[in-house]
Point group: none
Chain length 206, copies 4
């Protein structure tokens, strides 16, 4: 929508920015934040180092932009799925499928994403943590409300829907981690139904 309004100059800028972020993503996911230099990024993106600094005020800022951008994309996709007006079970399955696909399509960013949302996020000083956390909390709240709805409709047992959400997150992440480590051995097609059944067995009203 708003894209219509962009001048040629602004579009060009955006293209350059994307190019830089893409180069940075490649390098960061290959070698990690601290093992990549700004010069390296500039070179890979085919810009001068000074130009890089015109777009991002420092290395941390670049990193944050990179992770946030992807986090927002994920957020958008997953929130979209959770907001569909379908019955709970379909929504849940849809969520599992969508998340799996997200992983499958974006392997490189995932290490970064998890490095930040989970555990090992001391790479980067504060700030980023909070922004991502906020996004993630919003998402969890949405998931909780979907599950709560399922409880209200007696599709699920009487359980704390927050716990249910945590369980679902744990199950999906665990299998997707397996897939990340060895895609052949743990294919998408086996994981998705297994996660779904495992989850539903734990929560469905008998």
């Amino acid at each position: 929508m708003q894209e219509v309004k962009l001048s040629r100059r602004e579009r060009e800028k955006l293209r350059q920015r994307r190019q830089m972020l893409a180069a940075a993503l490649e390098l960061f996911s290959e070698k990690g934040f601290h093992n990549v230099s700004m010069h390296e990024i500039a070179k890979r993106a085919e810009f001068a180092i000074g130009t890089l600094y015109k777009f991002f005020k420092n290395k941390e800022d670049l990193y944050k932009a990179l992770v946030m951008e992807k986090a927002e994309e994920y957020h958008r996709v997953l929130m979209g799925v959770l907001s569909e007006e379908k019955d709970v079970l379909t929504v849940i399955e849809g969520y599992i499928v969508a998340k799996s696909r997200l992983f499958t399509d974006n392997l490189p960013i995932l290490r970064l994403y998890f490095a930040e949302t989970r555990g090992a996020s001391f790479n980067i000083r504060a700030g980023l943590d909070q922004d991502i956390q906020r996004l993630y909390d919003k998402f969890i709240m949405r998931l909780v409300s979907v599950l709560q709805d399922g409880v209200r409709r007696k599709v699920f047992r009487e359980m704390d829907p927050y716990h249910m959400a945590v369980a679902l997150e744990g199950l999906t992440n665990a299998f997707l981690f397996c897939w990340m480590e060895d895609p052949e051995q743990h294919p998408y097609e086996t994981n998705v139904p297994f996660i779904r059944d495992m989850f539903l067995n734990g929560v469905l009203n008998k």
Copy 2:
């Protein structure tokens, strides 16, 4: 037992080593591997930088020693629990309890532990990854064999025990992460039974 044999000199050495590792753990878990300097660690441990290098031949070695030491301790504890000669359900519950306690008692090291066993560890070049991975693989295999036994005894449904293990890991980790982030909100006492029920509902033979 063997400690009786240690000379005063050796005991002193061990005490120093522990002091250094403790200082390093504090700093690494506060700021991450790359944001901590050897000088900083030496200072916090109250030794000269040269003394630090007498104990650990370089920064990576120190880090590896730190993480491996803890990993081996966890491995020992959890393997012990999984090897008890009790019925499967008791063993599983015992495992959940033990893992919870391990987390509860060792919060600082956990970020490091997860940074290494899970995804985002480009912090350290190879080597460590592999050693820890090997330990973790061994543990998973033990867990798989416990679950497989449960399947054979018809306690559990006919399911791939590896998948079951992944599911159990996913559930425990997810709840323990929650606890890590906000211990008050997600107390140990609520988490353990929830994890257990969630897991068992998914796998028990009806």
Copy 3:
């Protein structure tokens, strides 16, 4: 000739490089490789340490560049003299004169040069040794062939021309060392004819 083509930028670069090498030469010849720090060189050359590393990838590289540059210059000059189409005696005398002048004009580099062509250069790990050695070997072979020519033409006695070359080198070096240590006492004007006579008395056909 080719200098005409250099852009202002390139000329500036060259000037800086020369400045750094000059500073390094001063310091190295004052205190030796190991007693000079890169910071010291940078400071004396009036550049930041980082700039120094833009030009030379490490300390050894800088040292090697310094020594090789001069070695090549000497090589060029002396080879030139030995290649002139004159009678052997003139060429030999020309060589003695040229070598003396080279010493006289480049006192500081000489200690380095001798440190490398002669004996005591464990300062620097391999590599340089070989490159310089190769250059020096080439030069000696040229000298040998000049002397051999003299033997063929019956100007010199029937002697091993390699031995003659070694003798000539020994004589020139010895006198030039004396001059290096005390230029007043052992002036160029007395040394040159003495070296020539001494050498010729040893080799001339009577």
Copy 4:
């Protein structure tokens, strides 16, 4: 003579000192002054580092002791030869032979010796230079007086005997350097007569 007076304690001390110097010589001549650590020397000599420092107040002192000891030995030997009551020609030949033998027997120390008396002696700060220089000057003066005597006796031409000495030094060193670099190619047996003839042709009265 004075050794008779040494107590057992003092003899033991001397033995230790020699052991340390021997270890240091091995290491220095293998790797050069700056690439050998005091710990390394202590270890090779099989003493504690502290004991090393009881004998030599610092690394430079150890180095100086090492080089001076050998220098004095050489000095003694060569001065002895030059002081024999024989005719000049025999003395000169004796000197060439003795010097050759000294080289042949003490290859390891030679690189150090030349590093200090010639050219590349910035390894060590002043002090050593002067002491060795003084010794060497004494020796040269002795050589000069031997040669002067030859001139007086009309064995040699009317030449500056100092120049003659320098020439003799240059010739012997050059051939001995060749031998150092490739002992097979430049054997002692060919070098000695060549040096003698070369020198004598330059100086003998016809």
